[in-house]
Subunit: 456 residues, 2 copies
């Protein structure tokens, strides 16, 4: 793999980030082939299920703190150190590669994660780290000097697949998840390994406390695949992520009365599944009216016999919206809808009832206006205008959610083919990966420039 | 237990069934206390779950061909033999107790079953047999001579609970189920006992072939609890059962596309559960419009994760109506409804599809007009008018379905409290049991009289 050299057309001597005008910023080009070659090179560690005939047409199975994860981490440390970075590993294995700037101070980070789902793809998380490393290479080959340090951070166990807390180690860094709790977490599937025992085993139990105080970040930018269909459908290239949807998870239980399907007329039934079906339909209608989402992914019933009307149904309800207010209003609306369904379906002799249990509440996240502005300016620059970019709200959680609680943050989305993610067939074209990486590079440089201007 | 003696008020000497006018028929009274005492006496064999404080407030668990079933059968043989019956046991353990008449010929039977569900009650099947034995007692104490033989038949494994074919041995008798298949059937739950080995073990593997030719019946009347809520709701006492609903069972499979609940807008989904919910609602509406029933008792989905839109849903569909034509029309209607739902819900990129599998087809059964007329006349006589009786169609299968294929048949329904059956709490009041038994008694005598008139 060629590491590239500075283009002879570029200015000799050292480029200073705080002196870069639009024209000069545009000359800092990501090397698409190098980026993709390097990305697929790292997918030798934890290669997953094959879905196509080419070498690169497999998924990934790189569970957090596994041997494969250790090899990918070792590559990350070696590659960034070779590019002039100082490496810090904290007590959760979060790995911060920092390239010094003109002045001391917290670095502006590109961050994401190298772990994957057990049946995941080559882009979720991985693209964000690899684009960060490519950023370091472009800075190095162009001899760019930044005002403050810039860096790349690999967060541990974002997926929550092996150890069942998502965004685990950015959560510890932000002070929202106690480190003792995270360290003691056992792997799913009955194994006895814990986060701490696996960190020790692979040599990534660092000495630095995991904390936004011990390791402050000036800003956090995350390039990530969309994991949804919007950019592809709208034929756009970059999503400027303004925040993350609020969501709430509920378990709804409907109690009716078991009865024989043959001998019980409609007027004498309390059919828990019919009521639940009406609720699922109603949740869809109401969510659409509110500009929100409602989804049911789990439904169980009892007793579960062809000729017995179900007496009990439990189903999950996942509602999401860009703001907490909308989620509030939708929840109220649905509680009233479900009560109405229950009273309409209830016969006098056999009442139905419905109860809600709230399983999870996640407020809306609003990213920082400066970071959003910097991403917008960078996307505009890379794409030559507004047509191919859009503002979006992320539907899924990311390390940027926790990062945003302790430093200015935003995200950059690139298209996911067919909206598919957490699946071996997850795919983003090399062109789109490179566009995203270039927007990430510019965003970090523009933010560094912004800090420099504020300080001068 | 007193066996009763002829009432001194009744005519001395022998009553002849073919000479009984309305007034004399009405004098033949069922002894309610004796009937109920005897019924609860037999519930000592296979007593089930307790639901109330009184001795008789338990359910039943008397699985076919179990030790408890053998004891109930032995009681049946002893009791009917003591009442002057000849006993025949066929190769399926069906037990025919026949009281001779003036002339030779096939008997007019009261029939039902002594086996129960694993978590059943004291009335389903049991009432029909006990009312038959009470009928023999009333005939004996009143010294009634019938024109032709009358009898009581206990059919083996009606419930299909231990050996998984419902109405198994009336089905063999009717020639619809091959005896080899029935004999070889293994008990559910992994045991190695077969129908034949259990018949041998409890001493009920009879020598007579199981066949309507070897053991012809002149008619078959079955007193049974309704197992539904209609009589209780309408405050009526007797259901004159004109036949059994047609029913069909299907498995409907809806295929959509798994996707993330947070990142996939409604317009990009192919939500198999939302489509299935719309289908379940639509099946209810269409069935109501057709005067039919539609029910879903089983529903499974995959992958079954809170934040994943289900890509596949399978559900059972049970449709029933009094005639085959209605079931036909409803099936066509629903196939078109479900196709419409699938095309409305499908987005261009992600089509949904629906497929039907027919699991079971049971045509409508129409009972014999003479038997229906005889039951109507008897119910009229016992209830003193039309107000407390109604014609009905049975929603569930019974041995009378197979009996009706080979001899004139009808059924008599009495109220089920709260419509509950196949449950320990199944209950019919002593008054209602006695009314039903009296209608059964009169029906058998009236039918015997009808045969006698036809032959004279
Ligand atoms: Zn990710
Ligand atoms: Zn029954």
């Amino acid at each position: 793999m060629a590491f590239g050299t500075a283009s002879p057309r570029r200015a000799p001597g050292r480029l200073k980030s705080w002196e870069l005008d639009e024209a000069r910023l545009r000359q800092l080009k990501v090397n698409q082939n190098r980026l993709m070659d390097e990305l697929h090179h790292t997918c030798q560690w934890g290669t997953g299920e094959r879905w196509g005939p080419r070498d690169t047409e497999t998924g990934m199975r790189r569970l957090s703190l596994s041997d494969a994860d250790k090899e990918a981490r070792d590559w990350f440390v070696d590659a960034t150190r070779a590019l002039g970075c100082d490496i810090s590993v904290d007590a959760m294995g979060n790995t911060f590669a920092v390239r010094p700037g003109r002045e001391q101070g917290p670095a502006t980070f590109a961050g994401s994660h190298l772990d994957t789902q057990p049946s995941g793809g080559r882009y979720d998380g991985i693209l964000g780290i690899l684009a960060g490393v490519e950023m370091l290479r472009v800075l190095q080959e162009n001899r760019v000097e930044t005002a403050f340090p810039v860096g790349v951070v690999n967060w541990t166990n974002e997926e929550g697949a092996r150890f069942p807390i998502s965004m685990m180690s950015s959560g510890v860094w932000a002070g929202d998840i106690p480190i003792g709790h995270a360290h003691a977490l056992q792997e799913v599937g009955g194994g006895t390994a814990t986060v701490k025992s696996e960190l020790e085993r692979i040599g990534y139990l660092g000495l630095i406390p995991t904390s936004y105080e011990a390791m402050p970040m000036a800003a956090h930018f995350e390039l990530h695949i969309e994991q949804g269909p919007i950019l592809e459908k709208e034929e756009q290239k970059i999503g400027i992520v303004k925040g993350v949807q609020a969501y709430r998870w509920y378990t709804v239980e409907v109690i009716g009365q078991e009865a024989h399907t043959g001998t019980t007329p409609f007027g004498s039934r309390a059919d828990a599944l019919l009521a639940a079906s009406r609720m699922i339909c109603a949740s869809h209608t109401a969510a659409a009216d509110h500009g929100a989402l409602a989804s049911t992914g789990v439904l169980t019933l009892s007793p579960g016999s062809v000729n017995t009307i179900p007496g009990k149904v439990k189903f999950s309800l996942d509602i999401r919206a860009p703001s907490d207010n909308i989620v509030d209003r939708l929840e109220k609306h649905l509680k009233s809808d479900f009560d109405a369904i229950v009273s309409t379906e209830s016969t006098k002799a056999l009442p139905l009832s419905v109860t809600w249990r709230t399983d999870s509440v996640s407020p809306a996240i609003h990213f920082h206006k400066d970071c959003i502005a910097v991403v917008r300016a960078s996307a505009n620059s890379v794409l030559g205008g507004e047509a191919l970019l859009r503002e979006m709200v992320s539907g899924a959680g990311h390390d940027s959610v926790y990062a945003s609680r302790r430093c200015p943050t935003s995200m950059i989305f690139v298209p996911s083919r067919n909206g598919i993610s957490h699946n071996p067939k997850e795919y983003t074209s090399p062109e789109d990966c490179a566009i995203g990486a270039e927007v990430l590079l510019q965003s970090v440089l523009r933010y560094d420039g912004l800090r420099s201007n504020l300080n001068s």
